[in-house]
């Protein structure tokens, strides 16, 4: 197949990045193609460090040939022979026997896909941190989002995609792409990863997968930490956003239980670089720890910390705490913070 044909197909299929940011794939490819650097890298992000998201693992477990096929197509498109699979250590341990022989096979064909095994963490999947890690530096974000196509690794530009995006590319190339995506569904009878229609509303997805709860619930979509919160009725209208995950919470869950989960996650996963995220998340966790059983949620104290994390954090990790907390407060409790 002609390479330009593939780019046209990708554009027509309206492929977007499945790491969460939903950036149009064909734009990334075109930008990389236009660069005159003699060396370019193709990198697959299989970090998947957020709680409640397991779709990349599922895809690698079941469709690793297609993921690598997507990588190889990208490498051919950019006329490069070197890339990285940046993979969560837990995943690699489970999938090594599947992945290693494939990579060996590609090596014989002249494609070098290096494995970079990362200690599982949320920050490890953040673009700048991932690139720093591959370069042997501390896993911490870089200055405000220079695109990896501008500042990649070892002085060379990088085409970076999530596992699912490479899978989608392979599907597009073989005309099998059907506007579906993968989503982890949790908090239901049959927890797991499902292939769902990209355009389906949350409630529809739950019904089609026979997971619609028979109890009162609210739902978090697009990540078990950073995902947005919707009520049962909002779930009829909202689509899957961010990285694919739908997590159901029983309505009885208390604010303390919900926020404790969120705050603990951010406190644990902050890389420790900047003030708002590092110290803000610790103070949030501490606020809940110091809370008496019967006392009210101290929103007036939570609010300024959430605000400063959202507006001032160095990278997207700290900023992303605002969406789940604000949408929970607004949609579930009816409080604007």
């Amino acid at each position: 197949m002609q390479q330009d044909d593939l780019l046209v197909k990708i554009e027509k299929a309206a492929l977007v990045g499945r790491g969460g940011a939903a950036f149009p794939v064909h734009l990334k490819w075109q930008r990389m193609k236009d660069l005159e650097n003699p060396k370019k890298y193709v990198v697959c992000n299989a970090s998947e460090g957020e709680i409640g998201v397991q779709k990349d693992f599922y895809i690698l477990q079941n469709f690793s040939e297609e993921v690598f096929k997507g990588m190889l197509l990208a490498m051919d498109f950019l006329e490069t022979k070197e890339g990285y699979l940046y993979i969560n250590k837990d995943y690699y341990q489970k999938l090594q026997s599947k992945i290693d022989p494939l990579l060996e096979l590609f090596k014989q064909k002249g494609y070098l896909i290096n494995i970079f095994v990362e200690e599982p963490s949320y920050i490890g999947g953040e673009t700048g941190s991932l690139l720093n890690a591959i370069e042997g530096k501390k896993t911490q974000p870089r200055f405000e989002s220079p695109s990896p196509s501008v500042l990649g690794i070892f002085g060379c530009p990088v085409l970076l995609h999530n596992v699912e995006t490479f899978y989608d590319v392979a599907r597009v190339a073989t005309d099998k792409f059907e506007k579906t995506r993968f989503s982890t569904i949790l908090g239901v009878q049959k927890e797991g990863v499902y292939r769902v229609n990209s355009d389906d509303k949350i409630a529809e997805v739950l019904r089609k997968t026979k997971n619609y709860p028979d109890f009162d619930f609210f739902v978090q979509v697009g990540g078990g930490a950073s995902g947005e919160i919707f009520t049962k009725s909002q779930a009829e209208e909202a689509s899957i956003s961010g990285c694919g995950s739908i997590e159901i919470y029983k309505s009885e869950i208390t604010s303390y239980q919900f926020l404790n989960k969120i705050f603990n996650f951010y406190e644990k996963e902050s890389c420790g670089k900047c003030t708002p995220c590092r110290d803000g998340s610790w103070q949030l966790k501490k606020l809940l720890e110091n809370l008496d059983l019967n006392s009210e949620m101290p929103w007036s104290k939570i609010k300024p910390i959430i605000k400063v994390m959202e507006k001032n954090s160095f990278c997207g990790l700290g900023k992303s705490i605002a969406l789940p907390v604000r949408s929970y407060a607004k949609n579930i409790l009816g409080i604007e913070i």
Partner: protein, 576 residues
């Protein structure tokens, strides 16, 4: 020349160099933008998140925002004030409660920010990491619990060329730590302490001991001040860097209760004479074709010496055997002056005021002690940094800039050569002024050796002495020292004499100097030192009458002379 652009800060136009950060421009124009992790000589970290401004309706850090034509910046919105305050509260949670420096009222940039922005530090609880204070020899120490993870110490340690300090761990457990690599050790230069905005990393205090000695009627307290201190301590009192306040300092020492006011500059003249003699001896041997270890290295900077003893022990024979200036003068005053004044030397407490933290470590070295009149004596008992001295003055409500001038006591008299010891190149210049005389019986035609002056990290020159040429180098910071030693090791360069200092610009940029210390400030201080030299009538160490008197006292005491003039060195292990 970089392109100039016009940007608008709070609707006022400013000329900026394209690519200059908005924070740099604001600071150059004395606009008030708070900042903790930013330091003009260090790499940008952008982690404190205090230097916030608004640009295109977005809150962003001004240290990372590059000036471009027509850019409009707001520094004063309510939201900015709120964000800065919140970050300051988070950063400095329980700061005043936990910081011993605050309680001692030592100057603290973080505390100044808190006062300015109405933050009490009581808003939030501090996460105590339960990590021990780590002591770097007898020089400095750090308390990871007080650290705000700005990274300035880590970056300054890297710039010096040591990489001993690092930030370790993630989330709120991220903390200051040191390298466990057995081949990496601190050299006690204290650059970390002069870059820490919160005193989490600081000198090991001798203040309380000095205060106790000052009220002990049985003791005779002698103050001796290093060359650099007089040209920098004014900064702690709002004066321009480089302003020579020595005469006011002499008055201040007396007001504090010091019995005698001498001078490390006099000690520097002793060092010059001893070192120039050794250099002359080594050069004579070389000229005669005899086997001799060259280049000779200076050894008056304990940070540099530790660097050699730990990283390059093979070069130990290259170090001059001359002791350092305050150790020379300390012992001179405890022997020669004590005998002359009829004073019991065991009652003397020598206090050195130094721009340095490694001098504290040096003062505690057992090998420098000596027997005299039946007593075992230390040349120097306590070392105060410039910062500690400023704190002591402030505590005693001594308003330094407005004091009357006075002179040091007679035995504190020094030459212009002693005065320039504080600047990188000064030791070399002083030694060559004397060595030329010792080798040829004639003075150098021109006293000022411009080639070895200035802030450059490595300066090389060929100096004509009589009909001979000697090749010299002047090196500042361990990073540059490593480069020069590697050159020598691999036979790429040969030298006769090299001056090494651990800190940028020499002692004047030392780890015990006032905060903030920057390359620009250090330059001004250096100018101050050279102007002292230029105004002196005696500008060669060997012509200093006091020094001559001291050496004639030692003339018939070879055993004492060998004990108090010379030292030896040995390979060091980590943490030694």
């Amino acid at each position: 020349m970089p392109k100039t652009v016009t940007i608008y800060i709070d609707d006022k136009p400013y000329q900026a160099e394209e690519g200059q950060s908005v924070l740099q421009l604001a600071l150059a124009n004395k606009l008030d933008i708070p900042h903790l992790c930013y330091h003009e000589d260090l790499k940008i970290e952008a982690n404190c998140r205090l230097c916030l401004v608004e640009h295109e309706n977005k809150v962003t850090t001004s240290c990372t925002l590059k000036a471009s034509e027509g850019m409009k910046i707001n520094t004063k919105s309510n939201e900015l004030v709120e964000m800065r305050q919140e970050n300051l509260k988070l950063l400095l949670a329980s700061h005043t409660k936990n910081c011993p420096k605050c309680q001692k009222q030592l100057p603290c940039p973080a505390f100044a920010l808190m006062q300015k922005y109405g933050v009490t530090s009581e808003e939030y609880e501090r996460k105590m990491l339960d990590l021990a204070i780590h002591k770097m020899g007898g020089a400095a120490e750090f308390d990871p619990n007080l650290c705000v993870r700005c990274g300035r110490c880590v970056n300054s340690c890297a710039d010096i060329g040591i990489n001993f300090l690092k930030l370790e761990g993630v989330s709120s457990n991220s903390h200051l730590a040191y390298s466990e690599n057995p081949k990496v050790d601190c050299i006690y230069c204290g650059q970390c302490t002069v870059h820490c905005p919160v005193n989490a990393i600081r000198e090991q205090s001798h203040l309380e001991k000095v205060e106790a000695a000052l009220i002990d009627q049985d003791k005779i307290l002698i103050a001796q001040m290093a060359p650099s201190v007089r040209a920098s301590i004014g900064e702690e009192f709002g004066q321009e860097p480089g302003l020579n306040l020595e005469k006011k300092m002499f008055t201040a020492f007396r007001q504090l209760g010091f019995k005698k006011i001498f001078d490390v500059n006099m000690g520097a003249d002793i060092t010059t004479v001893v070192e120039a003699k050794e250099l002359s001896d080594r050069l004579r041997k070389k000229f005669a074709g005899e086997e001799v270890v060259l280049p000779m290295f200076t050894a008056c900077c304990p940070g540099w010496v530790k660097f050699v003893e730990f990283y390059y022990p093979d070069f130990i024979p290259n170090l001059t055997t001359a002791r350092s200036p305050h150790i020379h003068s300390g012992a001179a005053y405890k022997t020669w002056w004590a005998e002359k004044a009829g004073v019991d030397p065991s009652k003397i407490v020598m206090v050195s005021i130094m721009p340095c933290t490694s001098k504290k470590y040096e003062s505690e070295m057992e090998k420098l002690s000596f027997e005299f009149q039946g007593h075992k004596l230390k040349p120097v008992d306590y070392v105060l940094t410039t910062r500690e001295m400023a704190a002591l003055l402030k505590k005693n409500k001594i308003d330094l800039p407005n004091l009357a001038d006075s002179e040091a006591d007679l035995e504190g008299e020094y030459s212009g050569a002693g005065a320039i010891y504080g600047a990188s190149g000064g030791v070399m210049e002083s030694a060559l002024r004397s060595a030329a005389y010792m080798l040829t019986g004639q003075e150098l035609p021109k006293l000022e050796l411009e080639e070895v002056r200035g802030m450059k990290g490595i300066k090389r020159a060929t100096i004509k002495i009589g009909d001979k040429e000697i090749k010299v180098a002047v090196v500042a910071t361990a990073r540059n020292a490593r480069n020069v030693l590697e050159e020598i090791k691999h036979g790429k360069e040969t030298y006769d004499y090299i001056e090494f200092m651990a800190c940028p610009g020499g002692c004047i940029g030392g780890g015990g100097q006032p905060l903030t210390s920057t390359a620009a400030i250090i330059k001004k201080r250096i100018a101050g030192l050279y102007s002292i030299d230029a105004k002196k009538t005696v500008r060669r160490a060997h012509e200093n009458k006091i020094v001559q008197e001291f050496f004639s006292y030692l003339a018939d005491k070879p055993s004492l002379a060998s004990k108090i003039l010379y030292t030896s060195f040995s390979e060091k292990n980590k943490f030694e």
